[in-house]
Symmetry: none
Subunit: 419 residues, 2 copies
């Protein structure tokens, strides 16, 4: 089934916002077996929205529209769609009640009246409940034509797509002859793209004719994406499973997870299984590792906390780093990172610890320790091991890579790697 | 001058690749004074490209196309454009020579013949040299219609846009009546979109006919983007200045900065001007505030570090929170957040402190303290003030908002707000 995606927002056409929604919707629709034939983006102008929506509908018959459903005056998708189908906007009393209740639950007694436009619905449209925000999704069908409106807030878009839009589209299309494009991703870190390719060797024999492999390098590592193209839905997962099973032995301990798995969650799970507890001592990353760990629900069962030792005085006072070590080797050194890891484990009474100190840049580098130099200390089973890297990229890259490397060193130590 | 952007690539419509090219081209064209009225993305299908290109050309008269110019069989933008203008593709002998020379310089003696399609040019087109890759840009003009083709490789796209496409577009338009679209953004936090709209009231009178206002809500707050549309280049900045000056008094202390300004940088600058130093004590945010502060180069002049007191034991041992306070009021309470702020300022010897404790969810909530409940303590001039909120959203939202609110409370205290 053909469909197009229309994303609405002046900030998108001005280029101030990168259109991640369009990509995410494209992926979800493709995985569900729809054939996305085009994507259009248009600013917040009633004429533009109506014109582009009408054109897309003429081409594909089905258009999923994201954005322009909020309460302010620049939100005009709803009337444009209603006009296109020749329908009136009617205020839905149940939605009005839900809006008032939602504001009340947030402690706002008098909801601003401007929010009520979000209860306006084209006559005959189906309301798709939005549990995360105030603007509901709307499903407007007429003859063979279908327009679905969903909010542009990414979390709301995502939830409405997976809970409402995709299941309804599949039901509408029926199950006959349904082929899908589906992907599966193996995540690696701490190894470059070409080193990975060398490890994998020739893969053409094991992937099969419908499955391709792509390398996707990011600051967090290199993801390996396996894609099964235009295969019957019931075969897709088996094809991908076969390909993943063929590649995994070649990658060994380099694969830390699949899909959206966060390395921090992997580390927490491994520690929990061992009954261990974790503390962090961060200098150049300033709390990044702690923030990533605590982003995972349930992290409190393992993670006790940490010290952000940005200033050297904090390294001395809170972590018991010796002034001599800093004077002799500098704050970015093996001696200091070892003392940081030992110090934080001792004072927070944790059985595992991660410590990071480095030169994140843009200034502060020297010939001996250029920008990007980091020392990582990992305490596990009463023993600290220290690692150093010169990480590429800007300040943000260096900090992001340092946090990821530190978590990965701990993961591999727990899993019994020789390092 | 109106234009549209067409990006070509199956990876884009499938959603595997986020379309950063479209955003970047939009920004470059807008800043140069073009009016981007729409963006379209289409897969590598000849029919689709021709249809979408023709439609865009009909709407806007000028279309900048990126992608689908390489040597492989899925690169079909060139013939689609030629066909649309009713022109033949002619192999350009000079381009053939350049291609052979480029491959030779890369150590490839026998260039694959498939590369020669990149020397095919629609009759009468202007060749835009591509110094970074093998596919040149092409400028095809006919009467009032203009199509520009550039490669999809981001580095090549960027160079061709700034070196060739943008200067030629400006020359083509001439200096007469050259108008630009220019933006300016006011950043707010701690106030909802509809409450902001109520504060601003009717803005039509003060913005003027050419300036629009857009609300861009994120977890970090709501940005207000003022955009001057189609105004003479020399008047644009004055119009935006006038609009910003008219809105700022209505928003008062709610505006913390403009453009890309990060609230963490604002807070650091205010503290540095006062000769103050800062420490953080984070429970539910787990290091987020520290990570944001240390993301700013030069933060070490103000930020000393902090304690991630995720476990209650760490609150007691490292921050001197009293066991009685936790037993009596719970870890998420005014009493505890006050002691956390005082404790971290004392032990890190800082003159300002931020403390955060809360229920980030998804579990851990109760009737008295539902998920989203946070207490924020701000120490400034030897006095702690404490604030509580029930923040909406999921775990990530609650943590992000809590960090932003905490920074904003400190900002407003330094700036002398009554709170």
């Amino acid at each position: 089934m053909d469909c197009e995606i229309l994303t609405v927002g002046t900030e998108l056409v001005l280029g101030f916002t990168v259109n991640t929604n369009a990509a995410e919707m494209g992926r979800m629709l493709t995985e569900a077996g729809l054939h996305v034939t085009g994507m259009t983006t248009v600013g917040d102008h009633p004429g533009g929205i109506k014109g582009h929506l009408g054109a897309a509908l003429g081409r594909a018959g089905t258009v999923i529209v994201s954005g322009g459903l909020g309460p302010t005056s620049d939100d005009i998708t709803r009337p444009a769609a209603a006009e296109l189908f020749g329908r009136k906007l009617v205020r839905d009393p149940q939605l009005v009640e839900q809006l008032r209740a939602m504001f009340k639950s947030r402690g706002v007694q008098n909801m601003p009246e401007s929010n009520l436009v979000q209860a306006d619905v084209p006559e005959g449209a189906t309301i798709l409940p939005n549990l995360r925000g105030t603007a509901p999704g709307l499903w407007i069908e007429d003859g063979g034509r279908l327009v679905v409106l969903i909010p542009g807030v990414p979390k709301e878009m995502r939830a409405l797509m997976s809970d409402e839009v995709v299941p309804r589209l599949k039901r509408r299309a029926g199950e006959n002859g349904w082929t899908v494009v589906r992907s599966r991703t193996l995540r690696t870190t701490g190894i470059g793209e070409s080193a990975l390719a060398d490890k994998l060797g020739d893969t053409s024999g094991v992937l099969g004719a419908s499955v391709t492999l792509a390398y996707l390098p990011t600051v967090a590592g290199t993801d390996l994406r396996l894609t099964a193209w235009n295969v019957p839905e019931q075969e897709a997962d088996a094809l991908l499973e076969k390909a993943a099973l063929a590649l995994r032995p070649r990658l060994g301990e380099r694969v830390y997870g699949e899909g959206e798995t966060d390395l921090a969650a992997v580390v927490l799970k491994l520690l929990e299984d061992k009954g261990a507890s974790l503390a962090t001592a961060e200098s150049c990353t300033g709390g990044l590792v702690g923030a990533r760990l605590t982003a995972i629900p349930g992290s409190s069962r393992v993670y006790k906390g940490g010290v952000v030792a940005y200033d050297d005085e904090v390294k001395l006072q809170q972590l018991g780093v010796s002034a001599d070590a800093i004077a002799e080797h500098g704050a970015v050194s093996e001696a200091v990172v070892r003392q940081m890891a030992e110090g934080v484990a001792r004072s927070l009474d944790a059985s595992a610890a991660i410590a990071i100190t480095g030169v994140a840049g843009p200034t502060g580098g020297s010939d001996a320790k250029p920008v990007g130099t980091v020392w990582i200390g990992v305490l596990w089973q009463d023993q600290v091991r220290a690692f150093t890297h010169i990480l590429p990229g800007d300040r943000e890259d260096v900090r992001g890579r340092a946090a990821q490397y530190a978590l990965d060193y701990l993961r591999r130590r727990i899993q019994g790697s020789s390092r």
